[in-house]
Protein backbone atom coordinates (compact mmCIF):
# COMPACT_ATOMS: atom_id res chain seq x y z
CA UNK A 1 0.00 0.00 0.00
CA UNK A 2 2.78 2.41 0.93
CA UNK A 3 4.22 4.03 -2.14
CA UNK A 4 7.21 6.28 -1.38
CA UNK A 5 7.37 7.81 -4.85
CA UNK A 6 3.76 8.87 -4.64
CA UNK A 7 4.19 10.14 -1.10
CA UNK A 8 7.16 12.32 -1.98
CA UNK A 9 5.09 14.05 -4.60
CA UNK A 10 2.09 14.54 -2.35
CA UNK A 11 2.28 17.91 -0.65
CA UNK A 12 -1.12 17.97 1.03
CA UNK A 13 -2.99 14.87 2.14
CA UNK A 14 -6.34 15.23 3.90
CA UNK A 15 -8.66 12.40 4.93
CA UNK A 16 -12.02 12.71 6.66
CA UNK A 17 -11.38 16.24 7.96
CA UNK A 18 -14.09 17.61 10.26
CA UNK A 19 -14.51 20.83 12.19
CA UNK A 20 -17.56 22.21 14.00
CA UNK A 21 -18.31 25.50 15.67
CA UNK A 22 -20.98 24.71 18.23
CA UNK A 23 -23.84 23.08 16.33
CA UNK A 24 -22.56 24.33 12.99
CA UNK A 25 -20.56 21.79 11.05
CA UNK A 26 -18.17 23.96 9.03
CA UNK A 27 -16.19 21.07 7.57
CA UNK A 28 -18.07 17.77 7.37
CA UNK A 29 -15.59 15.21 6.11
CA UNK A 30 -13.20 16.41 3.42
CA UNK A 31 -10.63 14.41 1.47
CA UNK A 32 -7.96 16.15 -0.57
CA UNK A 33 -4.71 15.20 -2.18
CA UNK A 34 -2.49 17.84 -3.75
CA UNK A 35 0.63 17.05 -5.73
CA UNK A 36 3.88 19.00 -5.84
CA UNK A 37 3.83 21.82 -8.37
CA UNK A 38 0.09 21.83 -8.71
CA UNK A 39 -2.19 24.88 -8.57
CA UNK A 40 -5.26 23.61 -6.74
CA UNK A 41 -8.43 25.65 -6.27
CA UNK A 42 -11.09 25.16 -3.62
CA UNK A 43 -14.15 26.64 -5.24
CA UNK A 44 -17.32 27.31 -3.30
CA UNK A 45 -19.84 29.87 -2.08
CA UNK A 46 -19.29 31.92 1.08
CA UNK A 47 -19.57 29.86 4.21
CA UNK A 48 -18.96 26.55 2.40
CA UNK A 49 -15.94 25.75 4.58
CA UNK A 50 -13.11 26.94 2.33
CA UNK A 51 -11.40 29.22 4.83
CA UNK A 52 -11.88 26.82 7.74
CA UNK A 53 -10.24 24.04 5.71
CA UNK A 54 -7.38 26.30 4.69
CA UNK A 55 -6.77 27.58 8.22
CA UNK A 56 -6.62 24.03 9.55
CA UNK A 57 -3.96 23.19 6.96
CA UNK A 58 -2.07 26.39 7.84
CA UNK A 59 -2.10 25.54 11.55
CA UNK A 60 -4.33 28.42 12.66
CA UNK A 61 -7.19 26.13 13.76
CA UNK A 62 -7.32 22.72 15.33
CA UNK A 63 -9.30 20.08 13.56
CA UNK A 64 -11.98 18.02 15.30
CA UNK A 65 -11.26 14.85 13.35
CA UNK A 66 -9.52 13.33 10.35
CA UNK A 67 -5.93 13.01 9.19
CA UNK A 68 -4.02 15.99 7.80
CA UNK A 69 -0.49 15.97 6.47
CA UNK A 70 1.08 19.08 4.95
CA UNK A 71 4.64 18.69 3.59
CA UNK A 72 4.88 15.55 5.68
CA UNK A 73 3.97 17.39 8.87
CA UNK A 74 0.90 17.53 11.09
CA UNK A 75 -0.16 21.21 11.21
CA UNK A 76 -1.78 20.67 14.61
CA UNK A 77 1.33 19.30 16.28
CA UNK A 78 4.31 20.42 14.19
CA UNK A 79 3.21 23.96 13.49
CA UNK A 80 6.58 25.62 13.96
CA UNK A 81 8.43 23.38 11.46
CA UNK A 82 5.54 23.81 9.06
CA UNK A 83 5.59 27.61 9.31
CA UNK A 84 9.16 27.65 7.97
CA UNK A 85 8.09 25.97 4.73
CA UNK A 86 4.76 27.57 3.89
CA UNK A 87 3.64 31.01 2.80
CA UNK A 88 0.22 32.29 3.79
CA UNK A 89 -1.91 34.97 2.18
CA UNK A 90 -4.90 35.44 4.46
CA UNK A 91 -8.28 36.66 3.33
CA UNK A 92 -7.79 39.96 5.10
CA UNK A 93 -4.51 40.91 6.63
CA UNK A 94 -2.45 43.97 7.45
CA UNK A 95 1.12 45.19 7.32
CA UNK A 96 2.65 47.96 9.37
CA UNK A 97 1.52 51.01 7.43
CA UNK A 98 4.61 53.09 8.02
CA UNK A 99 7.16 50.65 6.56
CA UNK A 100 8.03 50.61 2.85
CA UNK A 101 7.48 47.66 0.52
CA UNK A 102 11.14 46.63 0.65
CA UNK A 103 11.35 47.08 4.43
CA UNK A 104 8.25 44.97 5.05
CA UNK A 105 9.56 42.11 2.91
CA UNK A 106 13.05 42.36 4.46
CA UNK A 107 11.54 42.21 7.94
CA UNK A 108 9.47 39.11 7.21
CA UNK A 109 12.22 37.34 5.27
CA UNK A 110 14.46 37.49 8.36
CA UNK A 111 12.11 35.07 10.12
CA UNK A 112 12.91 32.24 7.71
CA UNK A 113 15.92 29.93 7.50
CA UNK A 114 16.35 30.21 3.71
CA UNK A 115 14.75 33.43 2.48
CA UNK A 116 14.48 34.39 -1.17
CA UNK A 117 16.35 37.62 -2.07
CA UNK A 118 14.09 40.60 -1.38
CA UNK A 119 14.47 42.29 -4.76
CA UNK A 120 13.71 39.03 -6.53
CA UNK A 121 10.47 38.73 -4.55
CA UNK A 122 9.55 42.34 -5.33
CA UNK A 123 10.07 41.74 -9.04
CA UNK A 124 8.08 38.53 -8.96
CA UNK A 125 4.98 40.37 -7.76
CA UNK A 126 5.64 43.38 -10.00
CA UNK A 127 6.20 46.00 -7.31
CA UNK A 128 9.69 47.07 -8.41
CA UNK A 129 8.67 50.69 -9.03
CA UNK A 130 6.95 50.78 -5.59
CA UNK A 131 9.97 49.36 -3.80
CA UNK A 132 10.47 52.36 -1.50
CA UNK A 133 6.84 53.40 -1.20
CA UNK A 134 5.21 53.19 2.20
CA UNK A 135 2.47 50.60 2.56
CA UNK A 136 -0.09 53.26 3.45
CA UNK A 137 0.29 54.75 -0.06
CA UNK A 138 -0.32 51.52 -2.02
CA UNK A 139 -3.57 50.78 -3.86
CA UNK A 140 -5.69 47.78 -2.84
CA UNK A 141 -4.31 45.64 -5.65
CA UNK A 142 -0.74 46.62 -4.82
CA UNK A 143 -1.26 45.81 -1.13
CA UNK A 144 -2.55 42.38 -2.15
CA UNK A 145 0.58 41.84 -4.23
CA UNK A 146 2.63 42.87 -1.19
CA UNK A 147 0.72 40.21 0.78
CA UNK A 148 1.85 37.65 -1.77
CA UNK A 149 5.41 39.02 -1.68
CA UNK A 150 5.55 38.67 2.10
CA UNK A 151 4.21 35.13 1.83
CA UNK A 152 7.00 34.41 -0.67
CA UNK A 153 9.74 35.99 1.45
CA UNK A 154 10.69 32.69 3.08
CA UNK A 155 10.85 30.91 -0.31
CA UNK A 156 8.08 28.46 0.69
CA UNK A 157 7.41 25.08 -0.90
CA UNK A 158 3.67 25.57 -0.57
CA UNK A 159 1.63 28.74 -0.81
CA UNK A 160 -1.87 29.27 0.55
CA UNK A 161 -3.97 32.02 -1.04
CA UNK A 162 -7.33 32.66 0.60
CA UNK A 163 -9.57 34.51 -1.87
CA UNK A 164 -6.67 36.37 -3.43
CA UNK A 165 -8.77 38.66 -5.64
CA UNK A 166 -12.06 39.19 -3.82
CA UNK A 167 -13.18 42.78 -4.21
CA UNK A 168 -10.76 43.56 -7.05
CA UNK A 169 -11.53 45.46 -10.23
CA UNK A 170 -10.90 43.45 -13.43
CA UNK A 171 -7.44 44.85 -14.17
CA UNK A 172 -6.21 44.27 -10.61
CA UNK A 173 -7.54 40.71 -10.85
CA UNK A 174 -5.60 40.05 -14.02
CA UNK A 175 -2.45 41.42 -12.42
CA UNK A 176 -2.94 39.13 -9.43
CA UNK A 177 -3.56 36.18 -11.73
CA UNK A 178 -0.30 36.90 -13.50
CA UNK A 179 1.48 36.75 -10.14
CA UNK A 180 -0.03 33.34 -9.38
CA UNK A 181 1.00 32.14 -12.84
CA UNK A 182 4.55 33.29 -12.07
CA UNK A 183 4.49 31.20 -8.90
CA UNK A 184 3.33 28.15 -10.81
CA UNK A 185 6.20 28.67 -13.24
CA UNK A 186 8.60 28.56 -10.27
CA UNK A 187 7.27 25.10 -9.49
CA UNK A 188 5.57 26.15 -6.26
CA UNK A 189 2.53 24.28 -5.07
CA UNK A 190 -0.39 26.65 -4.67
CA UNK A 191 -3.62 26.00 -2.80
CA UNK A 192 -6.12 28.79 -3.33
CA UNK A 193 -9.74 29.39 -2.46
CA UNK A 194 -12.09 31.38 -4.60
CA UNK A 195 -15.74 31.86 -5.37
CA UNK A 196 -15.04 33.02 -8.91
CA UNK A 197 -15.45 30.38 -11.61
CA UNK A 198 -13.26 32.20 -14.10
CA UNK A 199 -10.48 32.45 -11.53
CA UNK A 200 -10.50 28.70 -10.92
CA UNK A 201 -10.68 28.04 -14.64
CA UNK A 202 -7.84 30.39 -15.47
CA UNK A 203 -5.45 29.47 -12.66
CA UNK A 204 -6.06 25.96 -11.44
CA UNK A 205 -4.73 22.64 -12.65
CA UNK A 206 -7.38 20.99 -10.52
CA UNK A 207 -10.53 22.24 -8.83
CA UNK A 208 -12.54 20.90 -5.92
CA UNK A 209 -16.03 22.30 -5.48
CA UNK A 210 -16.94 22.60 -1.83
CA UNK A 211 -20.45 23.15 -0.48
CA UNK A 212 -21.81 22.79 3.04
CA UNK A 213 -18.48 21.53 4.31
CA UNK A 214 -18.18 18.72 1.77
CA UNK A 215 -16.43 18.30 -1.54
CA UNK A 216 -19.14 17.73 -4.12
CA UNK A 217 -16.94 17.42 -7.23
CA UNK A 218 -13.29 17.31 -8.08
CA UNK A 219 -11.37 17.38 -11.34
CA UNK A 220 -9.64 19.57 -13.89
CA UNK A 221 -11.58 22.69 -14.89
CA UNK A 222 -12.35 21.04 -18.25
CA UNK A 223 -13.74 17.80 -16.85
CA UNK A 224 -15.34 18.98 -13.61
CA UNK A 225 -18.72 17.40 -12.93
CA UNK A 226 -18.50 15.32 -16.12
CA UNK A 227 -18.64 18.51 -18.14
CA UNK A 228 -16.59 17.11 -21.02
CA UNK A 229 -18.78 14.02 -21.29
CA UNK A 230 -22.07 15.91 -21.12
CA UNK A 231 -24.20 16.00 -24.24
CA UNK A 232 -23.62 18.97 -26.50
CA UNK A 233 -26.47 21.29 -27.35
CA UNK A 234 -26.86 22.44 -30.94
CA UNK A 235 -28.87 25.56 -31.68
CA UNK A 236 -29.64 27.48 -34.90
CA UNK A 237 -32.23 29.72 -36.55
CA UNK A 238 -34.59 28.87 -39.45
CA UNK A 239 -37.17 30.98 -41.18
CA UNK A 240 -40.59 30.28 -39.63
CA UNK A 241 -42.17 28.77 -42.75
CA UNK A 242 -39.72 25.88 -42.83
CA UNK A 243 -40.19 22.70 -40.80
CA UNK A 244 -36.94 21.43 -39.24
CA UNK A 245 -35.87 17.84 -39.89
CA UNK A 246 -37.35 15.37 -37.37
CA UNK A 247 -35.32 15.00 -34.15
CA UNK A 248 -32.92 17.78 -35.13
CA UNK A 249 -34.56 20.79 -33.55
CA UNK A 250 -37.73 22.01 -31.90
CA UNK A 251 -39.18 25.44 -31.87
CA UNK A 252 -39.24 25.65 -28.08
CA UNK A 253 -37.17 28.67 -27.21
CA UNK A 254 -38.73 32.10 -26.78
CA UNK A 255 -36.00 33.72 -28.87
CA UNK A 256 -37.05 31.62 -31.86
CA UNK A 257 -33.90 29.50 -31.94
CA UNK A 258 -34.21 25.79 -32.56
CA UNK A 259 -32.32 23.51 -30.26
CA UNK A 260 -31.56 19.82 -29.70
CA UNK A 261 -29.21 17.74 -27.59
CA UNK A 262 -26.85 15.59 -29.65
CA UNK A 263 -25.73 12.14 -28.52
CA UNK A 264 -23.26 11.88 -31.34
CA UNK A 265 -22.33 15.38 -32.34
CA UNK A 266 -20.43 14.49 -35.52
CA UNK A 267 -23.33 12.52 -36.95
CA UNK A 268 -25.93 15.06 -35.85
CA UNK A 269 -24.06 17.99 -37.41
CA UNK A 270 -23.49 16.08 -40.65
CA UNK A 271 -27.19 15.27 -40.90
CA UNK A 272 -28.28 18.80 -40.10
CA UNK A 273 -25.91 20.57 -42.47
CA UNK A 274 -26.54 17.99 -45.18
CA UNK A 275 -30.26 18.62 -44.86
CA UNK A 276 -29.74 22.37 -45.07
CA UNK A 277 -27.55 22.13 -48.17
CA UNK A 278 -30.02 19.85 -49.84
CA UNK A 279 -32.86 22.32 -49.25
CA UNK A 280 -30.65 25.33 -49.99
CA UNK A 281 -31.29 26.80 -46.56
CA UNK A 282 -28.94 28.72 -44.28
CA UNK A 283 -28.62 27.88 -40.62
CA UNK A 284 -28.21 31.26 -38.97
CA UNK A 285 -26.50 31.43 -35.56
CA UNK A 286 -25.46 27.78 -35.67
CA UNK A 287 -23.84 27.01 -32.30
CA UNK A 288 -22.59 24.01 -30.37
CA UNK A 289 -22.33 24.39 -26.58
CA UNK A 290 -21.54 22.29 -23.54
CA UNK A 291 -22.36 23.13 -19.91
CA UNK A 292 -20.00 25.87 -18.72
CA UNK A 293 -18.04 25.56 -15.50
CA UNK A 294 -20.55 28.02 -14.10
CA UNK A 295 -23.51 25.76 -15.03
CA UNK A 296 -21.79 22.82 -13.34
CA UNK A 297 -20.91 24.87 -10.30
CA UNK A 298 -24.41 26.28 -9.88
CA UNK A 299 -25.88 22.81 -10.18
CA UNK A 300 -23.43 21.33 -7.67
CA UNK A 301 -23.95 24.05 -5.09
CA UNK A 302 -27.67 24.49 -5.79
CA UNK A 303 -28.89 23.64 -2.27
CA UNK A 304 -26.69 26.22 -0.66
CA UNK A 305 -28.23 29.54 0.12
CA UNK A 306 -24.87 31.25 0.25
CA UNK A 307 -25.68 32.56 3.69
CA UNK A 308 -23.21 30.37 5.49
CA UNK A 309 -21.52 31.74 8.50
CA UNK A 310 -17.92 32.02 9.35
CA UNK A 311 -16.51 31.57 12.85
Amino acid sequence: MFDPARNAATVVQVRGLTKSYGDFSAVAGIDLSITRGEVFALLGPNGAGKTTTLEILEGYRRRDGGDVTVLGLDPGRQRFQLKEQIGIVLQSTGVDRYLTVAESITMYSAYYPRPRPVDEVIELVGLTDKRDTRVVKLSGGQQRRLDVAIALAGDPELLFLDEPTTGFDPSARHEAWQVVRNLADLGKTVLLTTHYMDEAQYLADRVAVIARGRIVAQGTPATLGGRDAARATVSYRLSTDVEPPPGLGERARPDGLLEFAADDLTVALHELTGWALEHRLTLDNLQVSRPSLEDVYLELTADTTGEGRRP
Binding site: G94, V95, R310
Partner: protein
Amino acid sequence: MKGPALTLFQLRYVNKAYWRNPVSAFFAFAYPLMFLVIFTSIFRNADVQFGARRVNEATFYVPAMAALAVITVCFNNIAVAVTFQRDSGVLKRTNGTPLPSASFFGARILHAVLVSVMLVVITAAFGRAFYNADIPTGVTLVRMLILLAVGAATFCALGFAISSVIPNADASQPIVNAVILPLLFLSGIFIPLGNNPPTWMNWIGRIFPLKHFLTGMQAGFLGSTFHWTDVLIVAAWGLAGLLFSIRFFRWEPRT
Protein backbone atom coordinates in the same frame (compact mmCIF):
# COMPACT_ATOMS: atom_id res chain seq x y z
CA MET B 1 18.85 34.66 12.64
CA LYS B 2 17.92 33.28 16.00
CA GLY B 3 16.64 34.41 19.42
CA PRO B 4 18.35 37.60 20.58
CA ALA B 5 19.63 38.64 17.13
CA LEU B 6 16.15 38.27 15.69
CA THR B 7 14.71 40.27 18.61
CA LEU B 8 17.14 43.12 17.94
CA PHE B 9 16.41 42.95 14.20
CA GLN B 10 12.69 43.13 14.96
CA LEU B 11 13.34 46.04 17.33
CA ARG B 12 14.79 48.08 14.45
CA TYR B 13 11.56 47.77 12.50
CA VAL B 14 9.34 48.50 15.51
CA ASN B 15 11.44 51.62 16.01
CA LYS B 16 11.24 52.65 12.33
CA ALA B 17 7.47 52.32 12.28
CA TYR B 18 7.23 54.20 15.60
CA TRP B 19 9.09 57.31 14.44
CA ARG B 20 7.32 57.39 11.10
CA ASN B 21 4.08 58.21 12.88
CA PRO B 22 5.31 61.63 14.01
CA VAL B 23 2.03 62.71 15.58
CA SER B 24 1.94 59.76 17.95
CA ALA B 25 5.65 60.13 18.76
CA PHE B 26 5.28 63.87 19.37
CA PHE B 27 2.47 63.42 21.86
CA ALA B 28 4.29 60.66 23.70
CA PHE B 29 7.12 63.15 24.25
CA ALA B 30 5.03 66.26 24.80
CA TYR B 31 2.57 64.64 27.21
CA PRO B 32 4.70 64.48 30.40
CA LEU B 33 6.23 67.93 29.81
CA MET B 34 2.82 69.42 29.14
CA PHE B 35 1.45 68.06 32.42
CA LEU B 36 4.58 69.13 34.24
CA VAL B 37 4.00 72.71 33.11
CA ILE B 38 0.25 72.58 33.74
CA PHE B 39 0.46 71.16 37.26
CA THR B 40 3.29 73.41 38.37
CA SER B 41 1.37 76.38 36.97
CA ILE B 42 -1.84 75.44 38.76
CA PHE B 43 -0.14 74.87 42.12
CA ARG B 44 2.35 77.68 41.64
CA ASN B 45 4.76 78.39 44.48
CA ALA B 46 3.00 75.96 46.78
CA ASP B 47 4.98 73.46 48.79
CA VAL B 48 4.04 69.82 49.10
CA GLN B 49 4.27 67.88 52.32
CA PHE B 50 6.42 64.94 51.34
CA GLY B 51 7.12 62.60 54.24
CA ALA B 52 8.94 64.61 56.87
CA ARG B 53 9.96 67.36 54.52
CA ARG B 54 8.30 69.93 52.33
CA VAL B 55 9.34 70.11 48.73
CA ASN B 56 8.64 72.58 46.00
CA GLU B 57 5.70 71.68 43.76
CA ALA B 58 7.84 71.67 40.62
CA THR B 59 10.40 69.40 42.19
CA PHE B 60 7.61 67.08 43.26
CA TYR B 61 6.22 66.81 39.75
CA VAL B 62 9.47 65.85 38.01
CA PRO B 63 9.48 62.20 39.23
CA ALA B 64 5.68 62.05 39.03
CA MET B 65 5.65 63.11 35.39
CA ALA B 66 8.59 60.82 34.62
CA ALA B 67 6.47 57.98 36.03
CA LEU B 68 3.50 59.15 33.96
CA ALA B 69 5.67 59.12 30.83
CA VAL B 70 6.74 55.53 31.44
CA ILE B 71 3.18 54.38 32.10
CA THR B 72 1.87 56.13 28.97
CA VAL B 73 4.53 54.77 26.64
CA CYS B 74 4.48 51.25 28.03
CA PHE B 75 0.97 50.53 29.23
CA ASN B 76 -1.28 52.84 27.17
CA ASN B 77 0.66 52.77 23.91
CA ILE B 78 1.26 49.02 23.84
CA ALA B 79 -2.35 48.20 24.71
CA VAL B 80 -3.68 50.50 21.98
CA ALA B 81 -1.07 49.66 19.32
CA VAL B 82 -1.31 45.91 19.83
CA THR B 83 -5.11 45.99 19.71
CA PHE B 84 -4.92 47.97 16.48
CA GLN B 85 -2.42 45.50 15.00
CA ARG B 86 -4.70 42.64 15.99
CA ASP B 87 -7.75 44.21 14.35
CA SER B 88 -5.85 45.07 11.17
CA GLY B 89 -4.56 41.52 10.79
CA VAL B 90 -0.87 42.24 11.40
CA LEU B 91 -0.79 39.91 14.39
CA LYS B 92 -2.47 37.04 12.56
CA ARG B 93 0.01 37.36 9.74
CA THR B 94 2.93 37.40 12.18
CA ASN B 95 1.50 34.33 13.89
CA GLY B 96 1.65 32.54 10.54
CA THR B 97 5.42 33.07 10.28
CA PRO B 98 8.19 31.30 12.23
CA LEU B 99 8.97 34.47 14.27
CA PRO B 100 9.09 33.23 17.90
CA SER B 101 6.55 34.94 20.16
CA ALA B 102 9.37 35.79 22.56
CA SER B 103 11.08 37.87 19.85
CA PHE B 104 7.85 39.58 18.92
CA PHE B 105 7.01 40.53 22.53
CA GLY B 106 10.67 41.14 23.39
CA ALA B 107 11.19 43.67 20.60
CA ARG B 108 8.12 45.70 21.59
CA ILE B 109 9.05 45.65 25.28
CA LEU B 110 12.66 46.62 24.59
CA HIS B 111 11.51 49.45 22.37
CA ALA B 112 9.11 50.82 24.99
CA VAL B 113 11.80 50.56 27.68
CA LEU B 114 14.25 52.52 25.52
CA VAL B 115 11.69 55.22 24.72
CA SER B 116 10.84 55.35 28.45
CA VAL B 117 14.47 55.98 29.36
CA MET B 118 14.62 58.79 26.79
CA LEU B 119 11.45 60.33 28.18
CA VAL B 120 12.69 60.20 31.76
CA VAL B 121 15.96 61.83 30.70
CA ILE B 122 14.07 64.57 28.86
CA THR B 123 11.69 65.15 31.76
CA ALA B 124 14.61 65.32 34.21
CA ALA B 125 16.54 67.72 31.97
CA PHE B 126 13.45 69.88 31.57
CA GLY B 127 12.86 69.84 35.33
CA ARG B 128 16.49 70.69 35.96
CA ALA B 129 16.48 73.56 33.45
CA PHE B 130 13.21 75.18 34.44
CA TYR B 131 12.31 73.97 37.93
CA ASN B 132 15.64 73.36 39.64
CA ALA B 133 14.93 69.68 40.18
CA ASP B 134 17.64 67.39 41.60
CA ILE B 135 19.26 64.95 39.20
CA PRO B 136 20.17 61.61 40.77
CA THR B 137 23.82 60.50 40.69
CA GLY B 138 25.91 57.53 41.84
CA VAL B 139 24.14 54.69 43.65
CA THR B 140 20.83 56.58 43.62
CA LEU B 141 21.02 56.78 39.85
CA VAL B 142 21.84 53.09 39.44
CA ARG B 143 18.95 52.09 41.72
CA MET B 144 16.60 54.37 39.85
CA LEU B 145 17.64 52.96 36.47
CA ILE B 146 16.96 49.43 37.75
CA LEU B 147 13.53 50.51 38.95
CA LEU B 148 12.94 52.26 35.63
CA ALA B 149 13.78 49.16 33.58
CA VAL B 150 11.71 46.88 35.81
CA GLY B 151 8.82 49.34 35.87
CA ALA B 152 8.82 49.93 32.12
CA ALA B 153 8.88 46.19 31.39
CA THR B 154 6.09 45.64 33.92
CA PHE B 155 3.82 48.25 32.38
CA CYS B 156 4.51 46.72 28.95
CA ALA B 157 3.51 43.27 30.22
CA LEU B 158 0.35 44.78 31.70
CA GLY B 159 -0.31 46.53 28.37
CA PHE B 160 -0.15 43.16 26.58
CA ALA B 161 -2.31 41.63 29.30
CA ILE B 162 -5.08 44.22 29.00
CA SER B 163 -4.98 44.04 25.18
CA SER B 164 -6.02 40.39 25.57
CA VAL B 165 -9.33 41.44 27.09
CA ILE B 166 -10.02 44.52 24.94
CA PRO B 167 -12.60 43.40 22.35
CA ASN B 168 -11.55 45.67 19.46
CA ALA B 169 -9.44 48.67 18.48
CA ASP B 170 -12.28 51.17 18.92
CA ALA B 171 -12.69 50.11 22.54
CA SER B 172 -8.99 50.19 23.38
CA GLN B 173 -8.55 53.88 24.23
CA PRO B 174 -11.66 54.16 26.47
CA ILE B 175 -10.87 50.92 28.32
CA VAL B 176 -7.24 51.85 28.87
CA ASN B 177 -8.22 55.28 30.15
CA ALA B 178 -10.92 53.88 32.42
CA VAL B 179 -8.33 51.61 34.02
CA ILE B 180 -5.35 53.94 34.22
CA LEU B 181 -6.79 57.40 34.97
CA PRO B 182 -8.37 56.54 38.37
CA LEU B 183 -5.17 54.75 39.36
CA LEU B 184 -3.02 57.73 38.32
CA PHE B 185 -5.09 59.96 40.62
CA LEU B 186 -5.42 57.49 43.48
CA SER B 187 -1.70 56.70 43.43
CA GLY B 188 -0.82 60.39 43.83
CA ILE B 189 0.81 60.81 40.44
CA PHE B 190 -1.39 63.67 39.25
CA ILE B 191 -2.08 65.31 42.60
CA PRO B 192 -0.03 64.67 45.75
CA LEU B 193 -2.06 62.79 48.35
CA GLY B 194 -0.35 64.41 51.33
CA ASN B 195 0.54 62.51 54.47
CA ASN B 196 -2.91 61.36 55.56
CA PRO B 197 -4.96 60.03 52.68
CA PRO B 198 -8.01 57.84 53.52
CA THR B 199 -7.20 54.23 54.38
CA TRP B 200 -8.82 52.81 51.24
CA MET B 201 -6.64 55.06 49.12
CA ASN B 202 -3.58 53.80 50.96
CA TRP B 203 -4.64 50.27 50.14
CA ILE B 204 -4.98 51.07 46.47
CA GLY B 205 -1.47 52.45 46.60
CA ARG B 206 -0.19 49.32 48.33
CA ILE B 207 -1.90 46.86 46.00
CA PHE B 208 -1.38 48.37 42.55
CA PRO B 209 2.08 48.94 41.08
CA LEU B 210 1.73 52.66 40.28
CA LYS B 211 2.36 54.08 43.76
CA HIS B 212 5.32 51.74 44.30
CA PHE B 213 6.79 52.83 40.99
CA LEU B 214 6.23 56.50 41.87
CA THR B 215 7.81 56.07 45.32
CA GLY B 216 10.89 54.55 43.71
CA MET B 217 11.16 57.39 41.21
CA GLN B 218 10.77 59.92 44.03
CA ALA B 219 13.64 58.25 45.87
CA GLY B 220 15.71 58.95 42.78
CA PHE B 221 14.77 62.60 42.35
CA LEU B 222 13.75 63.78 45.82
CA GLY B 223 16.24 61.91 47.97
CA SER B 224 13.62 59.97 49.96
CA THR B 225 14.32 56.42 51.12
CA PHE B 226 14.56 53.76 48.44
CA HIS B 227 12.85 50.44 49.24
CA TRP B 228 13.65 47.32 47.22
CA THR B 229 10.19 46.03 48.18
CA ASP B 230 8.74 48.66 45.81
CA VAL B 231 10.79 47.18 42.97
CA LEU B 232 9.72 43.65 43.94
CA ILE B 233 6.03 44.50 44.02
CA VAL B 234 6.27 46.21 40.62
CA ALA B 235 8.15 43.16 39.28
CA ALA B 236 5.50 40.81 40.69
CA TRP B 237 2.84 42.70 38.71
CA GLY B 238 5.03 42.40 35.62
CA LEU B 239 5.33 38.66 36.07
CA ALA B 240 1.57 38.35 36.59
CA GLY B 241 0.96 40.41 33.43
CA LEU B 242 3.37 38.23 31.48
CA LEU B 243 1.77 34.98 32.63
CA PHE B 244 -1.70 36.35 31.91
CA SER B 245 -0.57 37.40 28.41
CA ILE B 246 1.03 34.03 27.65
CA ARG B 247 -2.24 32.33 28.58
CA PHE B 248 -4.78 34.75 27.11
CA PHE B 249 -3.05 36.75 24.36
CA ARG B 250 -5.03 36.65 21.10
CA TRP B 251 -3.42 36.97 17.68
CA GLU B 252 -6.71 37.15 15.82
CA PRO B 253 -9.51 39.71 15.92
CA ARG B 254 -12.69 38.77 17.70
CA THR B 255 -15.44 38.16 15.14
